[in-house]
């Protein structure tokens, strides 16, 4: 088991955002987390990546408890979180944003090589490589965020709504890329509003509702679940 989340509880001050949530990710899997706005999907990812800490429960990554570790340490262990809302470093250029993604990497040649492959994957970024991140369009920023996340060769990638605000052609492309990344050996935990798309590429899925897991199972099964169709997949 690569990632095991066991009954974690997370609070924002007095707000109880996650209640006894458990889920896991196996090596090589794509796992989808779906749920309505405010269900706690982003909170789950923030907890995994160490931006938040659970009050109770445990998070084990590769057999090690990481629930109290700082965010920067967790990155070292191989978990990368591509946050909701892109979170590009606005005053840094595209190139520098990518370099920040490789912050823990010390091998210059490797970094150069990774940047090259990022540009191959997203030619648009190459055109804009010296533009400030903050002035990119929304879609460009999303591409940059994913590319930046890949720079550290993560073992597990947490993607928070990667298709948000992207043109349909790019959405398809992004999902292809996710699959490709996965094939190359990175496990993926995917949060998506576009549940149909997400479920179509995921192995397994969890459905969150107001801070609890209400349904879990193979992606196929979840996709056919009537209440899921009713609530998330649209009429």
């Amino acid at each position: 088991m690569m990632l095991e989340v066991d009954k974690i509880n997370v609070f924002y001050g007095a707000i109880h955002a996650l209640t006894d949530i458990s889920f896991n990710v196996e090596e090589g899997e794509i796992v989808a987390l779906i749920g309505a706005n405010g269900a706690g999907k982003s909170t789950s990812l923030k907890t995994l990546s160490g931006l938040l800490h659970p009050t109770t429960g445990s998070i084990r990554f590769l057999e090690e408890d990481i629930s109290t570790k700082a965010a920067e340490e967790i990155v070292r262990k191989g978990i990368i979180h591509v946050p909701e809302g892109r979170k590009i470093f606005a005053p840094l250029t595209v190139m520098e944003n990518l370099e920040m993604g490789a912050f823990l990497q010390n091998d210059k040649d490797q970094i150069a090589c990774d940047i090259r492959s990022a540009f191959e994957r997203f030619p648009r970024l190459k055109e804009r490589q010296n533009q400030l991140g903050g002035t990119l369009s929304g879609g460009e920023q999303q591409m940059l965020a994913i590319a930046r996340g890949l720079m550290s060769h993560p073992k597990l990638m947490l993607l928070d709504e990667p298709s948000m605000g992207l043109a349909p052609v790019l959405v398809e492309q992004i999902f292809e890329i996710i699959q490709e990344i996965n094939k190359q050996g990175t496990s993926i935990l995917l949060v998506e509003q576009n549940a149909k798309m997400a479920l179509s590429i995921a192995n397994r899925a969890y459905v969150l509702e107001t801070g609890s897991v209400v349904l879990e199972g193979a992606a196929k099964d979840v996709m056919e679940n009537s209440s899921v169709i009713q609530a998330y997949l649209g009429g």
């Binding site: 965010a71 979180h81 520098e96 920040m100 912050f103 990119l136």
Partner: protein, 371 residues
């Protein structure tokens, strides 16, 4: 909504912004006229004043660099910076007059040429101050700023003011530093040279220098070299090195920086230490140039350097440098040729005018926020 049917003359006036330009032209012209006549009147005197202004400007630049660095990274107007600068000056004062740090090399290797030994000694003194200040800033950061990371920006500004008061008045206590003005013993001798129609030579006490010559000292040279050197180093660190880029990333968005594996607390501490080290170096050089140390010596230069840094463009290192040079010239030339009592008023007016023309400062980056 009666936008149409505007009088063409009115329209022209509006479009061409002629009134605003005229306004500045009139003000500017009077100043230029005054300075111009001064230059024609006595060119060597004028040039000497420019040199004087340069020395002051480069000193401001040294302080401004550290200011802008901290300001650029954590958006904190570190009002205690001037006081760290003061501590730097005192540290060097004690290391020179109590511990003879500036002589260590000379004492160890008496055979080495005096010039070299002195230089090494002086550099050591500067380094000692830089380290002391870095440590001090590190402590301050941990105590007073770090707990306020998530608080509104202004809270940290108030603690900065608090720290500033504290350093001053704690320093003024008899058993800490002293409330007195103390004459500063320089780590090396001052030599002044003149250069002019009569040629080049060094100035001897009691002997009149030839007229119409330009006078400058080794202190001037050292300050210029040191500030240019530190400018380049800093610019390199921030723009080119990984830690520098990490600083900018942290400056913009701490949580996301942490998601990249950047230890944002460490980066901020390093930034502070670096900024303070610069303040320390500035403190030593300032004390060498104006050989006196006292507990409140940091307030005025700190404030002026800060204003210069902002006018140069918040967070821009070359901007701080240019702003400081302008500040130096503005002060010296208005003191020399316009009005001494109104000097500060003139200098600050000029800086406000610069801001009006370039609202983001001279080298200010255009807003990176996209709507």
């Amino acid at each position: 909504m009666e936008r149409k049917n505007q009088n063409p003359i009115v329209n022209w006036i509006v479009k061409s912004k002629i009134l605003g330009i005229l306004f500045f032209v009139i003000i500017g012209a009077t100043a230029v006229f005054k300075l111009g006549t001064a230059l024609l009147d006595n060119p060597s005197l004028f040039l000497q004043q420019v040199v004087n202004g340069l020395q002051l400007g480069f000193v401001y630049a040294l302080i401004a660099l550290g200011y802008t660095m901290i300001y650029g990274i954590i958006q904190l107007i570190n009002f205690a910076h001037g006081d760290v600068f003061m501590v730097g000056a005192f540290a060097s004062f004690y290391s020179i007059s109590r511990y003879n740090v500036h002589l260590w090399f000379q004492n160890l290797f008496p055979s080495v040429p005096a010039m070299l030994a002195q230089a090494i000694g002086a550099v050591t003194v500067v380094l000692v101050s830089m380290v002391v200040c870095a440590l001090l800033a590190f402590t301050i950061e941990r105590i007073a700023y770090k707990p306020l990371r998530t608080a509104p920006r202004i809270s940290a500004l108030i603690t900065a003011i608090g720290i500033s008061f504290f350093l001053e008045y704690f320093g003024a206590l008899g058993f800490v530093f002293t409330p007195n003005y103390i004459t500063y013993e320089r780590p090396f001798e001052v030599t002044s040279w003149y250069i002019g129609p009569e040629g080049f030579g060094s100035i001897q006490a009691g002997v009149a220098t030839p007229p119409h010559s330009l006078i400058f000292s080794n202190i001037f040279l050292i300050i210029v070299l040191a500030s240019v050197f530190l400018l380049l180093v800093l610019q390199y660190i921030v723009k080119r090195t990984k830690i520098g880029k990490a600083m900018r990333a942290v400056a913009y968005d701490k949580p996301t920086a942490r998601l990249m594996g950047i230890n944002s607390d460490a980066v901020i501490s390093i930034t502070f230490a670096l900024g303070a080290a610069l303040a320390g170096a500035a403190g030593v050089l300032y004390a060498i140039a104006y050989p006196q140390v006292f507990f409140s010596m940091g307030i005025i230069p700190g404030m002026k350097a800060f204003v210069a840094a902002v006018v140069g463009g918040i967070g821009s290192i070359p901007g701080a440098f240019i702003g400081a040079l302008i500040m130096g010239q503005a002060e010296t030339l208005s003191a020399a040729y316009i009005s001494t009592p109104m000097r500060d008023a003139i200098a600050f007016s000029l800086l406000i005018v610069v801001l009006l023309i370039r609202p983001k400062g001279i080298m200010g980056e255009t807003s990176s926020e996209k709507v």
